[in-house]
């Protein structure tokens, strides 16, 4: 059984035909060819598949696609913006991850960045701060130190208005 599901994906309307229980993760990676969202476990534990649905970070391996009908879904591919010069322009959190060494092997990075973006937009979602905001994103490479530094750098830059967080 498949059904039509319509949602907003990175700002554009998208309709897919899928089994209602298909994992949003698979729909993004296969039906939408957006492979930036990664699968590390499929059991809601690693956070590599994190996307933002209606403003909140969620694990896309835990979401049956029928549940995003009518929702706004944002994946890592939607973070870049088009600069005035026609060049794509990184989100400041992406820049911070490059600068501070927040990405090593990179497999956790898209999910980590999406969780961080949700936090930057809504710091009250994690009263415990950056560590709590990222507790659902496992990284085996970094020991998290440089990831924290990346997020803090982005927060500082946001405060000084160096870039606009969307």
């Amino acid at each position: 059984m498949t059904t039509n599901i319509t949602f907003q994906l990175n700002g554009r309307e998208k309709t897919v035909q899928a089994h209602p229980m298909a994992r949003l993760l698979d729909v993004l990676r296969q039906d939408c060819s957006l492979t930036g969202t990664k699968e590390g476990c499929g059991e809601g534990e690693c956070g590599a598949c994190t996307v933002i649905i209606d403003g909140r970070a969620v694990m896309s391996c835990m979401v049956p696609v029928c549940q995003v009908h009518g929702s706004k879904v944002e994946s890592i591919e939607g973070l870049e913006s088009m600069g005035a010069d026609g060049q794509t322009c990184l989100h400041l959190i992406q820049e911070a991850f490059i600068k501070c060494g927040g990405a090593q092997c990179g497999i956790c990075t898209p999910g980590m960045i999406m969780a961080a973006v949700a936090y930057l937009r809504q710091p009250e979602s994690a009263p415990g701060g950056v560590a709590e905001a990222l507790e659902g994103n496992l990284c085996r490479c970094t020991g998290y130190t440089r990831i924290f530094e990346s997020v803090k750098t982005a927060i500082d830059r946001m405060k000084t208005g160096a870039n606009q967080s969307r």
Partner: protein, 708 residues
Amino acid sequence: MTPSNPTYQYVGKSVLRNEGRNKVTGRAVYVDDIATPGALYAKTIRSTVACGRIKDIQFGPGIPWDEFTVVDVRDIPHNVVELIKADQPVLCDGVVRHREEPILLIAHPDKGMVENAAREIKITYEVEPAILEIGPGAVQTEYLIVEGDVDAAFASSDIVFEETYQTGSQEHVYIEPNGFIAEWQGDRIVLHGSLQCPYYVVKAVKMCFGIEEKQVEVIQETTGGGFGGKEEFPNVVALHAALLAKKSGKPVRLIYDRQEDMACSTKRHPSVSRVKIGVSRDGVLKALDFDFQIDAGAYVTLSPVVLSRGVLHAGGCYRWPAARIRGRSFTTNSPPYGAFRGFGAPQSLFATECAINAVADRLGMDPAEFRRKNFLHKGDKMPTGQVLDVEPNLDAMLDRVIAMSGWAEKRASMKKGSGRGVGLATILHGTGFTGSGEVYLQSRVALAGRADGKVDILVGSTEIGQGTETIFRQIAAEALRLPMEQVEFHKIRTSAVPNSGPTVASRTCSVVGRLVQRAAEQMFEKLDGKSVAEYVKANGSLRTETQFEPRPGLKWDDATYKGSAYGAYSWMCNVAEVQVDPVTATPKVETIFATVDIGTLINPTLAYGQVEGGVAQAVGWATSEKVTLRDGVMANCQMTNYIIPTSVDAPDIQLEFMPTPDPFGAFGAKGVGEMPMDGPAPAVTAAIGHAINKTISAIPATPEDLIS
């Protein structure tokens, strides 16, 4: 602070990661991201018993088996996974030697159908008793190193200390599971994979199919973590994918899910170490007798080399007038254990460091002062007979870590059993392959100038997160005196890049980097002031190649296990600060302080990242990462039940680098990646022991162990 040579343009600078932009935008392509229209999805059917014989295989009803490609042992030209010893079959040959042993391979265009079909294959066995622990089984490999008159040295010791230490297995938990995509193009096989050692795969495929090296093309895709777990294990995955692709004539995707990956892939060797130490009353070490045993699992794989590194590090960073070190690996009915960051050294050093702390305790000495009396210095002899030709600088490193951590005040203020504690461990780690290993490898690298004026770095050394692409570009650009933008890292496909050896043993930056440096220096001379574009235009091509040359004076004898085990050593002093919850007995590692000597830091940000990541893994190994074995296989094979540190659990990590450069490493670099795995565990257990006033002699030290 990180010193850097002001005369260098790139070396010592935190140049941004080469592939960083692709990784933060989601554009980096990992093997599972490659679209393969028309490909088959594959699955491996595995044994459900640890030891026995296959009696019968039934293909159940309700599955359209004619639509499936099924590979069994009869489809394999040469049923061996080529590595050190030709004992591991590609598919089980009828005799099951461990659980999760591959028996059949199936593939179909519909992934869901593959899952259903896998459930309908019923295999029955004649079960035989399994050996699931170190001891009763056959000894696979054995080493013995003796230096000095050990028995006499013990006889003249005031105190003789003896204890047994155990370390558990550890799963790598690279966040990207293993995977390959295989496709035959005529008589040539193309393999895309997640891997550390492309030429290991080439060799395994070549031998299994009986084909020429040029018929095998291995392409490394962006690799989501390795830590040793993608050193030798990918050979098996690649062979399985290649067999299915051969039989079906179609491209085949064999991508493991997390549970399969955890259950069947290699892990850190569990170990048991019996340590006997003789010491004088005033705290001078006299003798060491070390019996090191590891569980190798069902096949040899890399266990002899892991055992070797464990044995060679067992003496730690101390002067022993006499030492006897014996190492044995045992065959069991567990899936083969394999390479994991540190490669045997963390296991033996855990025992050494625990014992050193215990002896200091017995003597009533501060463990820092006890160490200071016994540290290795330039000119001292190690158990292999190697004479240290550089001063390790351990006294200064120890002083610094003690100051950083507030060691003295904390030890004084935290009473034993108060729930808080600090612990110390000081370790060394040999750079690169053991003794003759590097000579045997004969690693090669090449640099090639292009018509557009750029230079390609051609190596088989993989980027697995540690920064290979970036540091090699830094090294090459520095030696070529070219802007870094003009130096590119060539994608690894074995038809295009030479074999620079495996990406293991902390050898990439120091040893292979040195080859890159030399190739770049040769190219600089060749250019003789011309630009790359000019030279290529005038001469048609520009290429330099270098091959490993042993450092002068380095001798190693495999037969006697004597000589210079490693050309260079890295050093690290660790202090752990721990709190143990009085209600739940849960240890919380709050901070790891460390001073680190990895020689020159080619890229400080990357170096910090490597050490911090290793420390976090070591802390996990020491405390929460318990591989629960049932039938010799990992029963807790989910991320939910195998507990690695989250962002909230990971300790605060305070590092200071104190480099003593190695003149034979790239711009003075020594090994980096593995060493941080060695010291934190014994530092943590010492701290826990202090906090709860108990001796900890086994890891992981879980709350279940600590509460009683």
